[in-house]
Symmetry: C2
Subunit: 127 residues, 2 copies
């Protein structure tokens, strides 16, 4: 478990469990990474990078390490030249998918709702 997650998990007694979820899933690209690993079962670093919108290696590496530290993804290193590293979901990671779906679903509805309130919407509006 990475330090940030550990701090929140341990210091919390009351009803703020939601913030634990956000600490674990709330990084840039993390929901997308988890969804891609559901679709593809196992992905190499470069494959993940291409399927996402080419985040910098620095950023992608950090997100993957955090997910690994928090126990959601499993990282397998093949010691060979050129190097090969595979990522897949752990049991805990698979268990997070329903929540990721819920986040995606509500976020999509929210975005649609908000776009419908914009002045010059490009969507066909009945009027």
């Amino acid at each position: 478990m990475r330090e940030k997650t550990a701090r929140i998990v341990q210091e919390w007694t009351d009803a703020c469990d939601a913030e634990i979820s956000i600490a674990v899933l709330g990084g840039a690209w993390k929901p997308s990474i988890l969804s891609l690993l559901r679709e593809h079962e196992v992905l190499r670093f470069g494959e993940l990078s291409r399927l996402l919108d080419e985040p910098t290696a620095r950023v992608l590496t950090r997100q993957l390490r955090e997910l690994e530290d928090d126990g959601l993804v499993i990282r397998t290193v093949y010691r060979q030249v050129p190097p090969k590293v595979e990522y897949r979901l752990s049991e805990l990671g698979r268990g997070s998918l329903p929540l990721v779906d819920a986040l995606t679903s509500w976020g999509g509805s929210y975005a649609e709702h908000q776009r419908s309130l914009l002045p010059e919407a490009s969507a066909p509006v009945a009027r």
Copy 2:
């Protein structure tokens, strides 16, 4: 809608809707605020502050304004002396509660799972 949310809502085309949810719900105290407003229907600033663990007024104010800007809470100002300000959930805010519950539930399970892996756990361990 606050600027951060607007940026994310507009610039996103693909499957990253989950990050919209996190942008809206991911601030400090926000899930707790929403839960408290479900329990109490309507709360004044000072009541909210006491029910939470006394965050600084600066911080609580910002979270409430962001929730208001994003359309989840409704702020009502009574122009009187001393001032009185009430907060309640909007329709959109009530619609977020199932997601808040899902975050709370998964976060609680995650925390419990992780605590069970700690070396010197204080919980009674069968062994």
